[in-house]
Amino acid sequence: MNQQKQAGTIKIQKENSMLKQKQMLAEHFMALSQVRETGKKVVYTFVPGNLTELIYTFDMLPVYPEINALQSGMRKKSHDYIREAEDLGYSEDVCSYVKCDIGMMLQGNIGPTGQKLPDPDILLLSYTGCFVFMKWFENLKQLYPNAEIAMLHIPYQEAGRIEPDAVNYIKKQLLSEVIPVFEKVSGTSFEEKVLAKKMDLSAQAEDLLIEVFDSAQQKPSPIDAYFGGVYYIGPIFTAFRGSESCVDYYRELVKDVDYRIQNKLGPLTPDGYLEQEQYRLVVEGPPNWTHFRNFWKIFYDQGAVFVGSSYTRVGGVYDDGFRHSPDDPLRSLAEYCLGCYTNRNLPQRIDLLERFIRRYHADGFLVNSIKSCNSFSAGQLVMMRDLEERLQIPVGFIETDLVDPRYYSYSNIKNRLDSFFQMLDQRHTVRVTDDWLSDDVLA
C-alpha cells in the first residue's frame, strides 16, 4: 500500500491517496495551462461557499486565489509578493492572502507548477463568511478589467440558524446573477440534471470525508485533522468536488486510513508515521503556511496529534449531516454556502468545537490566531475561555499568520507550546489518578 523512498537519511513515505491527489492537481494545472488551446473558460473563486459543481456544469475550470496564496507561502514566494503589494499601497495591517495574490499577479501570475495561470474569464465572488473576499474581488476586478463578474452574497447565520429568506435570496442570485454570467461566458445553457449528477458525487465524497474525520475517535488517531487535514480536504474544498476522481481519491484515503487503523499507526508526518501519541488536540484557526513543516514538527516531535480542527470545515461543514443533494440542487448549494464554518455565528462555532473535543476525546484545545484573518480571529479569545469553562479542558493560544513570514516567530510559538504541553502533562497525571474528565464530557 505504501511506497517509500530514501531522501538522505529521512524516509519520505507516500500513500496511494497522496499520489492520487498529486496526479489530480497536476492534471488540473495542466488543463489550466492549456486553456488557449482548449478554449475552456476560467473562473476565479473562493474556497468557502465555492460552487465547483456549478462551474463544472458549464465545463469551466476553477482557480482559487486563496490556494495560490497558500501555495506561494509554502514555496517561500509570499514574502516578495506581499512586498510588491505593499509597495503599491496595501497596508501591512490587511489580509496577507490578498496582498500575496495581488503581488503574484503583478509578478506574472506564475502558479505552483511554474506555469503561468490563465487570466480569469469570470470572477465569481462568493461572499461567504469573510468580508475581505468582497474587497479582494473588487481589487481583482481592477486588475482584470475584462473579466465578467458574478457576485453571490451569502448572508451570515447571525441567529445560529439558516433562515428560509436567506436560502431564497441565494437561489434567486444564482438564477438571476450567477448562472446567466456562466451561460454567457461558457456559451452553454444551464442543465439542472447535469448539476444534480455532480451533486450526487459530491455527497459520496462527503460521506467518505466524514469517515476519515471520524477515524480520529480511534486511539491512536490514524489521522492528523489539522496538518494532515489540509491534504485530506484538498480535493473536496477545491477543484474536484462533484467529480468521479474526487470520490476515487476519498476511497483511496479511506483505505490508507484503514491500513493505519489495522496496524495501530498514527498519522503520516513528513518524518514518517507518528509513533507515540502523547496529546490529542482540537485546534481553531487556519495553519501558518510559510513554515508549515517547521510548525507541524513542533507538534509531532512532542507526540501531539490534532484530532479535530475548524479549519478543515472552512470549505464546508459535513459533520452535522449536510450533504450536497441532487434534489433541488440550487437550494442545496445555498444551504452548503450558508453552513460553511466562518459563516456560522460564534456560539455555533463554539458548539462545533465542543463536539470535536468530546467526539474525538481531545486532551486540550488550541487556538492558532491568524493576524491576517479577522473572520476567524475576532472572538477567538472568548471562544477559548468559553470552552475552557464548559469542559474544564486545558487551552493554549499562539499567534502566526497565513502567508506573511514576518509574523512567524518560532521561539515565541515554541515557548507557548512548551507551557501548553506542560499543562497537558499535569492534566494527564491528574487524569490517571482522579479521572478528572467526567463520563459525559468523554461521551
Binding site: 496595501y90 474587497k135 481589487n139 451570515y156 475576532a378 477567538q380 468559553d386
Partner: protein, 392 residues
C-alpha cells in the same frame, strides 16, 4: 433634563461636547425613563434605518466606541493586538455596566470584526436583543430588495416584542419625515462648514454631528436648527489654510485631538466620512406613501453612498471621492483610516490611484481611537499643507 436650545454657539459646542463625553449615557437613560414603552437600541457604525426604531418608540443610540475617554482594562482580553480598537471600548462599556439600560443592539454588516462582536454580545449580553443586520450586496429590487425587506420585517417583529408597540405606516412615514429634516439640517450645517470653515471648525462640526447619534430626532432637529441660526451670526477671519477631504474614518472614530491637529497644521476639513451613517441618503425620501418600509428598502438599494461597506466594481468610490474634492473645492485628500480596518485600508490603494490619475494631492496615515500622540501627524499634515500652498 437639559434643554437643547443653547443661548450661544459656544454653549452649543459645550453641550455637544458634554454629550459626547458622557459614557454613562445620561440623556438616553433620562429619555427612556419618561415612558414605560420607551426602549434604547444601541447601534454600531455605519448605517442603520433609524426611522424604524424611532417609529417603534425607541431611541437609536450610536455606539462609536469610547475613544481616549475610557481606559481599556477588560476589553483587551477579548481581542488580539492586531484587531482594531473600537470593539475593545464597546465591550468595555458593556462589561462596565455603561450599557445596562440598553434593551438591544444592532450590528450592521460592515466587516468581520463588527460581525463577530455581535457574537460576543450574544454570549455576554444574552438577556438583550442582539441583531447582526445583514444588508444586501445585491441591488436588484426583486432579489436583494426582497431579501432586505424580509430582514427589516424580522427586525421590526423582534423589536416590537421589546415594548409591544406595533409599527404603523403612519408612524413610519412620520419618522421618515423627521429624518428627512434631520439630514437636511445636517446638510445645511455642512454647507456652513464648507463655505466658512473658519466659522464652524471641523472639531465643532464633529461634536455637533455626534449629538445626532444620541439625541431624539425631534430634539436634534430643534438643536441643529438653533446651531445654524447661531452660526449665521458669527464673524471670524479666515486663515491661510488649505482645504482637504478626509477619507477612511467611517467606523472607528479619530480622537478629537487628531481632528484638531489636522486643522492646526493648516488644513480646513471641508468633507469627511466620520459619521457617514447620519447622512447616508442625500435626498429626501417620500414620507407619505402606503409602503414606507418599501421606501427605506428602495433608498438603500438605489441611493446608498459609495461606502466601503457597499459592494461595487465600478470604481464608484474613486469617482465619489473625486466629486467630493471638486464640489468642496478641496486642495487635497487625507486618507485617515483606523489601524487594522479592512474596509478602509483595502479600498485605499484604488482611491489613491484614482486621486493620482486626477492629479489630486494626498497623503495617508493610520490611527486608533485612543491615540494620544499627534506630533508626527501634525508634521505630516503641516508639510502637506505647505506643499500644496507652495506648488498650487
Amino acid at each position: 433634563m437639559e434643554t437643547w436650545m443653547p443661548e450661544t454657539y459656544d454653549d452649543a459646542i459645550t453641550q455637544s461636547r458634554a454629550l459626547f463625553e458622557d459614557l454613562t449615557y445620561t440623556y438616553p437613560r433620562e429619555w427612556k425613563a419618561k415612558a414605560d414603552t420607551r426602549r434604547l437600541i444601541g447601534y454600531l457604525p455605519i448605517y442603520i434605518p433609524r426611522e424604524i426604531i424611532h417609529a417603534l418608540d425607541m431611541l437609536p443610540v450610536g455606539l462609536f466606541g469610547a475613544g481616549d475617554r475610557l481606559p481599556v482594562v477588560r476589553g483587551d482580553a477579548f481581542f488580539q493586538s492586531y484587531i482594531c480598537h473600537l470593539p475593545r471600548t464597546v465591550i468595555e462599556l458593556a462589561l462596565n455596566g455603561n450599557l445596562d439600560d440598553f434593551d438591544g443592539f444592532i450590528f450592521p454588516s460592515i466587516c468581520d470584526v463588527i460581525r463577530n462582536l455581535s457574537g460576543i454580545f450574544r454570549m455576554k449580553m444574552g438577556d438583550r436583543y442582539v441583531r447582526y443586520l445583514d444588508f444586501p450586496q445585491n441591488f436588484n429590487p426583486e432579489v436583494g430588495g426582497t431579501y432586505y425587506r424580509s430582514e427589516l420585517e424580522r427586525l421590526i417583529d423582534d423589536l416590537s416584542k421589546l415594548n409591544g408597540v406595533v409599527l404603523t405606516n403612519s408612524a413610519l412615514n412620520k419618522a421618515i419625515h423627521l429624518y428627512n429634516r434631520n439630514r437636511n439640517l445636517l446638510q445645511r450645517l455642512d454647507s456652513i462648514r464648507v463655505d466658512r470653515p473658519h466659522v464652524v471648525s471641523a472639531t465643532d462640526f464633529y461634536l455637533i454631528r455626534r449629538a445626532g447619534q444620541i439625541l431624539e430626532v425631534e430634539e436634534c432637529n430643534r438643536f441643529w436648527q438653533r446651531v445654524i441660526d447661531l452660526a449665521d451670526s458669527i464673524v471670524r477671519e479666515p486663515e491661510d489654510k488649505i482645504r482637504v477631504v478626509v477619507s477612511g474614518s467611517f467606523c472607528e472614530q479619530p480622537p478629537l485631538g487628531l481632528i484638531k491637529t489636522i486643522e492646526n497644521a493648516g488644513c480646513y476639513i471641508v468633507e469627511d466620512d466620520f459619521q457617514l451613517g447620519l447622512n447616508w441618503f442625500r435626498h429626501e425620501l417620500p414620507a407619505d406613501t402606503d409602503d414606507p418600509l418599501g421606501v427605506l428598502v428602495d433608498a438603500y438599494l438605489n441611493h446608498s453612498p459609495a461606502s466601503s461597506a457597499v459592494y461595487t466594481t465600478e470604481e464608484a468610490r474613486g469617482k465619489a471621492l473625486l466629486s467630493q474634492v471638486q464640489e468642496q473645492k478641496a486642495d487635497g485628500v487625507i486618507f485617515c483610516a483606523p489601524s487594522f480596518c479592512d474596509p478602509a485600508l483595502l479600498d485605499r490603494p484604488a482611491l489613491e490611484q484614482s486621486m493620482d490619475q486626477n492629479h489630486i494631492k494626498h497623503f495617508s496615515f493610520q490611527y486608533h481611537e485612543n491615540l494620544g500622540q499627534f506630533h508626527v501627524i501634525k508634521e505630516q499634515a503641516g508639510t502637506f499643507a505647505d506643499m500644496v500652498k507652495l506648488w498650487e
